[in-house]
């Protein structure tokens, strides 16, 4: 039976991995992820989880062990943050290139310098070209549920890609709130054991894996297949979300979730922990001011849901992208991708970008409301002037 309990986001994610019956857990500690490691170690120690816990000497090794373990056919789980995730970077390409559906909790934290243990999304967004699926979550419950969904998505034979379930450190990892821990029997029916055919390191069934592909052999085709798999993942993420809803009575919307978008003229688009506060703002503006505004929550960043976003946003007058990350020298990472996706057609909505909440700076209800009200003021402009905005930088007049 499902059981509701007070849990932090970290513990909720760890329970998700336990229920997925992961078999190998290689992990190296780093704030704000460390509680996941501790909880997984406790599950193994107490016998609640029958898994090999591998305390490695670095994140780079954590991913190396994950790759090797998954290649033997074991379901593998790890977690990292910040410098740790960046240190894994080169091995992330190996996991996806070998088509190994490792799942990792990416507990978002800034990358130094300057050092802080507080969150922004730059660490996981920085991994966007590694061939990992990335899903962003807004609560401990969503993190818990998505760890379980991640295995079913990644292990689907149309996909076979690693999956990162991302949630902001401190704001989700350390928030304690009621979480429904899923029923093991139902999870077992939803998520059958991992039984790979494509890559299995087994002395009884010799197979050559990770070969050298020189000159004009098949490197392009390997990469193309990954691209095809990522495209396939779009449908699979949707299917798995629907199946999850049928089994557990809770759905998240797949690649994106949209709210109050009917007859909307403008929309806020955000991801992660800003989404619930933005939802509260949009509800208030709808109910109290009768303003035609909607909310789009980006859940999947890889694969990037271009068709879904075009469908939701194309007829709007203006969209503001609120995000806790930046690509220095360009703009908000999600904004840049969205601008590329919507293109410069004459009927595309005006786009604006608020870079806010970096380094864990609180993003309040009033601040999000401020961006929404700006959007209404600017919605009929010819062009959006100064679209990329660093929100409330101190010391500027």
């Amino acid at each position: 039976m499902e059981k509701r309990k007070m849990l932090t986001g970290n513990y909720a994610a760890a329970h998700g991995a336990r229920l997925a019956r992961v078999e190998v857990v290689p992990v190296y500690p780093i704030t704000p992820q460390t509680h996941i490691m501790e909880k997984m170690a406790a599950f193994v120690e107490s016998g609640e989880l029958d898994a090999e816990f591998v305390p490695v000497e670095s994140e780079h090794s954590a991913m190396a062990v994950a790759i090797a373990a998954q290649a033997t056919g074991a379901r593998t789980f790890t977690a990292s943050s910040s410098q740790g995730l960046v240190y894994m970077h080169e091995n992330l390409f190996v996991a996806s290139g070998l088509r190994l559906p490792v799942v990792m909790a990416m507990v978002n934290r800034t990358i130094g310098a300057p050092t802080t243990i507080c969150p922004d999304l730059s660490d996981s967004l920085d991994q966007r070209d590694t061939g990992w699926i990335q899903i962003y979550t807004e609560s401990a419950q969503e993190a818990h549920d998505m760890i379980i969904q991640a295995y079913r998505v990644g292990e689907d034979e149309r996909v076979l890609l690693p999956v990162g379930i991302c949630f902001e450190g401190m704001i989700i990892s350390h928030y304690m709130e009621p979480v429904e821990i899923l029923d093991q029997g139902k999870v077992d029916r939803f998520l059958p054991p991992y039984r790979p055919e494509h890559v299995v390191l087994d002395p009884d069934r010799p197979m050559s894996v990770h070969q050298l592909v020189l000159d004009d052999s098949y490197y392009t085709e390997y990469k193309y297949q990954q691209q095809v798999a990522m495209e396939e993942a779009k449908g699979v993420i949707q299917e798995v979300d629907e199946a999850f809803g049928e089994t557990f009575g809770r759905r998240y919307g797949g690649l994106i979730s949209t709210e109050m978008m009917e007859d909307a003229e403008v929309a806020l688009l955000t991801l992660g922990s800003m989404a619930p506060t933005a939802r509260a703002v949009v509800s208030q503006l709808r109910e109290e001011e009768d303003m035609p505004i909607g909310l789009v929550k980006l859940r999947a960043f890889r694969p990037f849901p271009d068709e879904e976003l075009k469908e939701s946003l194309s007829n709007l007058k203006a969209v503001a992208v609120l995000e806790r990350d930046v690509s220095i020298g360009a703009g908000g990472i999600v904004y840049l991708e969205l601008a590329h996706c919507l293109g410069k057609k004459h009927d595309s909505p005006l786009l604006t970008n608020y870079i806010m909440g970096l380094g864990g700076r609180d993003v309040t209800f009033e601040e999000i409301k401020d961006t929404a009200l700006n959007l209404f003021e600017e919605r009929d402009a010819e062009v959006m002037t100064n679209p990329i905005r660093w929100y409330q930088v101190r010391g500027l007049s």
């Binding site: 007070m6 243990i117 507080c118 807004e138 401190m170 704001i171 989700i172 350390h174 928030y175 304690m176 709130e177 009621p178 922990s273 800003m274 619930p276 506060t277 939802r279 509260a280 864990g360 609180d362 993003v363 309040t364 209800f365």
Partner: protein
């Protein structure tokens, strides 16, 4: 929705106090949320933990800016920061302070709508013995239950096993009850 800020110093258990209070509220059927102000954990450094309690799931994810209740686990914190600076005008403060609250500066008295004290440091020394940093978290939760009355002290007791080993439950339960009995209203 009720919002509660709990101030303490690293080692006193402010974050645990917030989690116990939230768990007790959860046991009573509320939808709580709790989280610490994010900083490196250092012994003795100021710590603040936030608690929200509501009848329905809480969606907002921001710090608390106008608390209904402020709990101060160490009076020395007033030298470093202003724990009552953002309390609601009719808010309630519960402060670890000796001598039945006599001699509490008027600058503090006038900030809260109502104010209670408990000599949690003295009780901590009685219950846990002398420690470098007095562990006042469970004691102050007992005082909270006596002052605010929305969470029963019995629910605090029921939450304790989530946070302490079996052999420490009765000791902490005694601490909570002493906090409850020794609350002083000013």
């Amino acid at each position: 929705m009720k919002e509660i800020n709990i101030y303490g110093r690293g080692g006193q258990g402010a974050v645990t106090a917030a989690q116990i209070l939230a768990t007790a509220a959860f046991e009573e059927g509320y939808w709580p949320q709790t989280f610490p102000k994010f900083g490196g954990e250092r012994r003795g450094a100021p710590v603040v933990a936030y608690v929200r309690v509501d009848d329905e799931p809480i969606v907002i994810r921001t710090k608390v800016y106008a608390p209904d209740v402020v709990v101060v686990m160490d009076f020395n914190l007033f030298k470093m920061l202003d724990p009552l600076g953002d309390i609601k005008p009719d808010g309630t403060a519960i402060i670890n302070y000796p001598d039945h609250g006599e001699g509490l500066p008027s600058s503090i008295l006038e900030k809260a709508g109502s104010l209670f004290t408990v000599d949690a440091t003295k009780i901590a020394h009685q219950v846990y013995g002398k420690t470098t940093i007095p562990i006042t978290n469970v004691i102050i939760l007992g005082a909270y239950c006596a002052a605010i009355k929305d969470i029963s002290i019995q629910s605090i007791y029921e939450a304790l096993p989530d946070f302490f080993p079996v052999e420490k439950i009765e000791l902490n339960w005694k601490a909570a009850q002493m906090g409850y009995k020794n609350l002083r209203g000013l």
